[in-house]
């Protein structure tokens, strides 16, 4: 069931060191890369069907094509390593076990979009991983892999790690750029038409760490090798993270299309002794929750997850057992969102606060049925009326818990 595309070197001792990384295939795509035209690289990535692994699932190749051609301004690649979605802890595996794969991916991706400067924005809490990444980048500079020439080729490549400050919203790409520009991480208004991102008014592309780390495989082996994995509409693989009371929590690379229950039982080892599966939040805390019976039917690819009313998100499966009170679960999550709302849009800032207070009242035994109606009303008021998708995400998770586990909320109220 497990496959090795991005995670190929994770289990090799000292895989983060340049010497070991090179001995195990890192930077082997670079010669082929420079034998191709940048547009050919983009074309391969487009045909591979590679999608953004940071939660949104947007196709990577078409995103690169949004970069303007023949623009005299410098272009930038910004790698999103903010990884702050609860339940998601996959990108840190790349930082820890294969940072040179990320550097190689940055070279390939930058060449495709004609960028010479890349910034890796990493959440501030990942200090240890930032240090490891910086060590790898220094090794790459010292070895002439990056710098004025990339491995002897006439292409400059500079990579800088930018440490975040603990704001979840900076995982949203436009908020990330705002933060990188030295401002509060407030998401930007989106343009009507599709266009690239803008970093100090220069064209930029933002991609997730795992997305970038997948590119060398496609460059080296061709898009067909990648589409050999997964399903027709969701080709390839993903680093799925599993947390909660299963026997083997962790990060596992799988092709798209596996049954969720098989992954939980065969890879995760099933539930810990004495615990029974009650629910799963499938792809980070903002994806609508699945009941145990829905988990039996769930298939881990984008289309299948939409078909059962949820989303694949980051692939971070949060397992919940039958000892948990689902009102408590909802309260825990709304505390997160209340704390992390950037405060820019009133429906989000105030809505999160209202739901948080109402759920506290319900848990204190002072709630009424009207309060539950108010929560649903606030969810609908938040949805679609804000600059970014933070508020719709809150609506998705809170509403799904309330509707699917309504009996537990009823038990708590007067």
């Amino acid at each position: 069931m497990l496959v090795k595309v991005v995670s190929k070197n994770f289990d090799i001792p000292n895989s983060h060191k340049l010497e070991v990384a090179k001995a195990n295939g890192r930077y082997s795509s670079i010669e082929k890369l420079f034998s191709m035209q940048p547009d050919d690289v983009t074309d391969q990535v487009t045909k591979s069907g590679l999608r953004g692994k940071g939660g949104g699932g947007a196709p990577c190749g078409p995103k690169w094509k949004l970069m303007p051609k023949d623009d005299p301004r410098p272009a930038y690649l910004i790698v999103n390593g903010d990884e702050s979605e609860p339940g998601t802890f996959k990108d840190r595996q790349i930082f820890q076990y294969d940072p040179h794969l990320l550097i190689e991916g940055i070279i390939c991706s930058s060449y495709a979009i004609n960028a010479h400067d890349a910034y890796i924005y990493v959440r501030g809490e990942y200090k240890w991983f930032i240090d490891r990444l910086n060590e790898a980048i220094k090794e790459a500079y010292d070895a002439g892999i990056i710098g004025e020439k990339v491995m002897g080729h006439d292409y400059r490549m500079d990579i800088t790690v930018h440490r975040g400050g603990g704001a979840y919203i900076c995982g949203e790409k436009s908020a990330l750029i705002e933060s990188l520009e030295g401002k509060r991480g407030h998401p930007r208004l989106k343009p009507h038409g599709k266009e690239c991102e803008w970093f100090f008014d220069n064209p930029a592309t933002v991609n997730n760490v795992e997305t970038i780390a997948t590119v060398p495989f496609i460059v080296e082996n061709g898009y067909e090798a990648y589409t050999a994995y997964g399903t027709e509409k969701s080709p390839g693989t993903m680093l799925f993270a599993m947390s909660g009371p299963v026997k083997n929590p962790g990060v596992y690379e799988l092709a798209f299309g596996n049954k969720m229950i098989d992954v939980i039982n065969q890879i995760g080892g099933g539930m810990q002794d004495g615990k029974k599966l009650k629910a799963v939040i499938p792809g980070g805390s903002s994806c609508p929750i699945l009941t145990a019976s829905e988990v039996e039917k769930a298939v881990l690819d984008y289309e299948s997850m939409w078909d059962i009313g949820s989303t694949l998100g980051t692939g971070g499966m949060m397992i919940i057992d039958d000892s948990m009170n689902m009102v408590d679960v909802a309260k825990n999550l709304i505390e997160f969102y209340h704390h992390e709302s950037c405060g820019q849009c009133t429906p989000c800032r105030e809505g999160c606060g209202w739901i948080d207070k109402i759920l506290a009242k319900v848990l204190a035994g002072e709630g009424t049925k009207k309060d539950l109606e108010t929560i649903l009303d606030v969810c609908d008021t938040m949805n679609g009326k804000t600059i970014c998708v933070f508020a719709p995400a809150v609506k998705d998770i809170i509403k799904s818990i309330l509707i699917k586990f309504e009996d537990e909320f009823i038990k708590e109220i007067k």
Binding site: Y126, S179, M318, N332
Partner: protein, 165 residues
């Protein structure tokens, strides 16, 4: 005029990093991280220093620093325990660890122990859900924790403090 100054090493790091961005505004986070790594917190005086370096007003630095929760805007204890409270850690027992900290050190979220040794923060997801429950001690991750392992870490901090006196 600020009394705060970077150490020569940090000043060199600042000068090296500012060259890597197309606009010095990008130095806001790196400049404040250098302050916090040097002092343990970001004082108003240090904010004035950063403002001068980046051609900003002090209020701009303050507005920025208050948005990012990892900057300590007042001094904290020697050992900063950041306990993750978000869902997977809650499901796996983080509340027991919180109670243990209250019972043994006597501090709740946002508080510093009377001897100044410990500061306790209850934080939102630290991206270690597979190792839940977890906490960070001065930024170093401790995953798959239990009351026994937390007790051991607290005792080690106390022993280290005694031996350094």
């Amino acid at each position: 005029m600020s009394k705060f100054k970077y150490t020569p090493e940090n000043e060199a790091k600042f000068q090296e990093q500012i060259k890597r961005y197309p606009n010095s505004n990008s130095m806001m986070l790196p400049a404040l991280w250098l302050v916090q790594e040097q002092e343990g917190w970001v004082s108003p005086d240090a904010m004035i220093f950063v403002a001068d370096k980046l051609n900003k007003t002090p209020i701009e630095i303050y507005e920025f620093a208050t948005f990012y929760t990892m900057f300590n805007l007042k001094p904290i204890g020697t050992y900063h325990i950041e306990l993750c409270k978000t869902l997977s850690c809650m499901v796996m027992g983080s509340r027991d660890l919180k109670k243990f900290i209250k019972d043994t050190i006597g501090i709740g979220p946002g508080e510093t122990s009377e001897d100044g040794l410990f500061h306790f923060s209850e934080v939102e997801c630290l991206g270690a859900c597979g190792g839940a429950p977890m906490f960070a001690l001065n930024g170093e991750y401790h995953e798959n924790q239990s009351i026994d392992s937390l007790k051991k870490v607290i005792e080690e901090c106390r022993d280290a403090s005694k031996s350094s006196k």
